[in-house]
């Protein structure tokens, strides 16, 4: 078992227990530009992800012309 993180259509797996902040760091994603949601609940950066968790990473920045 591991923590599964889904960003757009991509899946990432991380082994073991890890905080949201650490998980984003490992994936080289800025915590300023990404939010993490578990079962519809927004998580803060100190919340802990455990084996079996499936979380969604929501990119918070979007681009395009103004």
């Amino acid at each position: 078992m591991s923590v599964v993180l889904i960003l757009r259509k991509q899946e990432f797996k991380i082994e073991g227990t890890i905080t949201v902040k650490e998980a984003l760091k490992r994936l080289n994603l800025s915590p300023e530009s990404h939010l993490v949601v578990r079962n519809g609940e927004l998580l803060n950066e100190n919340d802990v992800l455990r084996d079996g968790d499936v979380v969604k990473i929501v990119p918070s920045i979007s681009g395009g012309g103004r």
Binding site: S30, P31, E32, S33, L35, V37, G40, E41, L42, L43, N44, E45, N46, D47, V48, R50, V58, S60, I61, S62, G63, G64, G65, R66
Partner: protein, 325 residues
């Protein structure tokens, strides 16, 4: 057992859903919603954006920011109606139709009025098609798209009797735009960047109530409010400069919390107090006259830039002579 006891709401001690380092604040879901709504009201008052007696037209794209803005104005009890412009962007994602569906659904759930403009129905062509046909947008439709959106929003506001047009530009949008303008020394553009642009003959007042919220904050609001928004990006946004700047600036924000807000507010303050002097507008005020076709004020001698997009007969000739822009 829940694992998340570590970060608590500073108001009630429940689990925090967000920490905002730049404000030294962590809040639970309910207190975050309350804070976000109150802050919006504060910004509306601080910049004298509009009052409760005025009707506000909110430009909604179906994305998280604009639906959040409409939701907040609705909660605050403002008379806010929505305007959705279907640009006809598909690219295999049904991007426009899907975002229209979400905007309609949002309005229906709250009993709000949504006005819809469909570019293809109005002009017989989608935005990417118009762009491909004109010199302004051979590579990317964004310039044409921006021109059409600005024109149609203003036109709709005037025709529907709104003198206030609200867009959901957030701090990251504003800071990325400012950064790009400083980086390229585009001083002209820096003169007009502001939380509010007053109305003038033929132009509605433009306001940006979210200009001090980071995009992370607006996204968090939409998530905790359970707003269904379009998650896909416009396919043409990929690789845009704006995204690159936002990413860079967020890397900076990580090591220097509050950097974006200080950069933005520092600029507005320095300019408006006269410490930062930008080149003044032409001494002779540009002669504005109504476009013979659509009636909107324009500086160009004949049709406005928008109407020229649809001048098919003279297109070939004009394209070779007239510089775009």
């Amino acid at each position: 057992m829940t694992s998340n006891v570590s970060m608590k709401c500073m108001k009630c001690n429940e689990r925090a859903v967000i920490r905002m380092r730049q404000h030294r604040l962590a809040l639970c879901k309910d207190h975050y919603i309350e804070w976000f709504v109150q802050q919006t009201q504060r910004f509306i008052e601080k910049y004298h954006m509009f009052t409760r007696d005025e009707k506000v037209l909110v430009a909604v794209s179906g994305g998280k920011d604009s639906l959040a803005l409409w939701d907040v104005l609705w909660q605050l009890g403002y008379h806010a109606e929505g305007l959705y412009i279907n640009l006809g962007i598909d690219e295999g994602l049904h991007y426009s139709n899907e975002s229209e569906r979400l905007a309609r659904e949002f309005a229906e759930q709250r009993g709000l009025v949504l006005h819809v403009i469909n570019v293809e129905q109005a002009h017989g062509e989608t935005v990417p098609e118009i762009a491909r046909r004109t010199r302004r947008g051979r590579d990317k439709p964004c310039a044409v798209c921006g021109l059409i959106k600005r024109h149609d929003m203003n036109q709709a506001a005037l025709e529907l009797g709104f003198n206030v047009l609200a867009t959901a530009h957030n701090l990251d949008d504003e800071v990325a735009f400012l950064f790009g303008n400083v980086f390229h020394w585009n001083l002209e553009q820096m003169r007009r960047q502001a939380p509010i642009l007053p109305e003038s003959p033929g132009f509605a007042r433009k306001v940006k109530p979210f200009c001090r919220f980071s995009e992370r904050e607006t996204a968090a609001y939409s998530l905790v409010r359970g707003i269904a928004y379009i998650e896909d990006e416009c396919p043409f946004a990929e690789g845009s400069k704006q995204l690159l700047y936002k990413d860079l600036l967020n890397r900076l924000e990580e090591v220097e919390p509050g950097a974006k807000l200080r950069f933005y507010l520092g600029f507005i303050e320095a300019r408006d107090s006269g410490q930062l002097v930008l080149p003044r507008e032409e001494e002779v005020p540009l002669e504005l006259h109504p476009c013979p076709r659509c009636g909107q004020p324009t500086t160009s001698p004949g049709l406005c830039a928008y109407c020229r997009l649809f001048e098919r007969e003279s297109l070939e000739a004009s394209e070779t002579q007239r510089p775009s822009g």
